[in-house]
């Protein structure tokens, strides 16, 4: 982690869905190479927070600044920015109409990041990294949940992002497949990727996170190192939540 380089700066972020105020003013800074794990009860706004970081949700108020670029500014080329911010979803969202290789090659080739040959090389390298080089011809419906999620991670990595957002990446998986996905994520963290992870995997948080952030009712109620938050939570809401999940 490099505390001299702020990758993501969030200033008083608010998000409303109609009359529902999901985020009620979130501010934080995330550093280069930092792994931030976001926990909290369901409906607390943690996924919405994550989705605001690449403007998958339009921000109601406040600013999100990535590498000095305000992504809430309508003039920002959001597509260009998203190329550098990978996202992994709870339900994988692999393109069902393409095989694994084409899933991985689509964006790099379509956005002219590189030629077809290089995109293929990249794709094969990424698949090897997640241990699925033998699945290049398979279609999403032929893969297990864990395999799908590893392909989804590889697909994001093919764009060479320097930030990765994970939205409950293991919540839709059978228990025996959670490990294989977390292993890939741990590997990424070790290599110095800046990661924001919304998850219920407290073991992963404890092992990998530099910082754990507890969000409830649309605000950050508590944050700190995993030891601070898990072993000595200050806020009664945090204590209550941890009692229920640990």
């Amino acid at each position: 982690m490099n505390p001299n380089n702020v990758k993501i700066k969030v200033e008083n972020l608010k998000k409303d869905f109609g009359r529902l105020n999901v985020l009620q003013g979130v501010s934080t800074e995330i550093y280069e190479g930092e792994v931030v794990v976001v926990i909290g009860p369901s409906g607390s706004g943690k996924s919405t927070f994550l989705r605001c970081l690449n403007r998958l949700e339009e921000v109601t108020e406040g600013r999100v600044i990535i590498d000095g670029q305000d992504i809430t500014d309508p003039k920002t080329d959001i597509n260009k920015l998203r190329e550098r911010v990978g996202m992994v979803f709870q339900h994988f969202n692999l393109f069902n109409n393409m095989n694994v290789l084409r899933n991985l090659m689509l964006a790099p080739v379509d956005l002219k990041q590189c030629g077809k040959e290089e995109a293929k090389e990249r794709a094969l390298a990424m698949l090897e990294r997640v241990g699925l080089q033998d699945k290049i011809k398979a279609f999403p419906h032929q893969l297990s949940g864990g395999q799908k999620q590893r392909v989804a991670i590889a697909r994001s990595l093919c764009m060479k992002p320097d930030i990765m957002l994970f939205d409950e990446p293991t919540s839709a998986l059978d228990p025996e497949m959670v490990g294989e996905v977390l292993d890939v994520m741990k590997e990424l963290a070790r290599e110095g990727m800046t990661m924001v992870v919304v998850t219920h995997e407290m073991g992963f948080a404890r092992e990998v996170a530099n910082r754990v952030m507890f969000i409830a009712d649309g605000v950050i109620l508590e944050e700190g190192t995993p030891e601070e938050v898990f072993d000595n939570p200050q806020n009664p809401r945090t204590r209550d939540f941890l009692n229920k999940v640990l």
Binding site: N54, N79, K80, F139, M159
Partner: protein
């Protein structure tokens, strides 16, 4: 029946050709209208969505026979007598094609809208999160999946439209029903003539269904 077919077969087959020609023109433009209006009804822009809604409801709310009379007689009359632009005429083929294209286009738009909306929203989000612009994502990810689920409904609509060409006999287009009416008028053999006509429609539609099945099988996702 065989006698009738021997004598009137060639003109009935020619009439079937006219039916198919009319259906082909109609369906071709209906696909274009359907795609445009269908996409208009799912984009963010309120004007586009409003236009699509009005178009679809307007066409669906008017019987095709009324639409046919309106286009074939009404439009030229409006141009010539009210706007005083002389010499506006529509051939039965032109009016018929427009009529079919509008009618079928409205239903196709609904099929396409439903097809696009049936694709999981996560597919669009994943494409956008990789940096693909909206239209690129639509083209590469959403539409290919939508079209696959739409095929049975589209074929169904094609069949309906093919049969609806018979309604255009009322504006004098020499398609199969119109021609058969003339054959009956001169032979009085209505059982045989209409029997032959029914079988001719049936054959063409069965062929269309068979082609659709082949197409559907081809579009299955398999590792190749």
């Amino acid at each position: 029946m065989a006698q009738i077919f021997n004598k009137y077969g060639p003109i009935l087959i020619t009439a079937m050709g006219q039916t198919l020609l009319l259906a082909l023109y109609g369906l071709f433009f209906a696909c274009i209208i359907g795609l445009i209006v269908g996409i208009m009804s799912v984009v963010k822009n309120k004007f586009c969505r409003g236009f699509a809604l009005v178009f679809v409801n307007l066409i669906r709310g008017v019987p095709m026979i009324v639409l046919a009379y309106f286009i074939f007689f009404g439009i030229p009359f409006f141009c010539n007598s009210i706007l005083k632009i002389g010499g506006v005429t529509l051939t039965a083929l032109q009016a018929g094609s427009i009529c079919l294209a509008l009618n079928c286009g409205a239903y196709m738009a609904e099929i396409i809208r439903a097809g696009i909306q049936s694709v999981d929203i996560g597919q669009m989000e994943a494409a956008r999160s990789l940096g693909l612009p909206y239209w690129r994502a639509m083209q590469r990810v959403i539409l290919p999946q939508a079209i696959r689920t739409m095929i049975p409904s589209i074929i169904n609509q094609f069949i309906i439209t093919l049969k609806d060409t018979s309604i255009l006999s009322v504006i004098g287009f020499p398609e199969l029903v119109n021609t058969a009416k003339n054959v009956v008028a001169s032979t009085f053999l209505s059982f045989q003539t209409w029997g032959i006509v029914a079988i001719m429609y049936l054959i063409v539609i069965l062929l269309l269904q068979w082609a659709a099945k082949v197409l559907e099988r081809k579009l299955k996702y398999e590792s190749k």
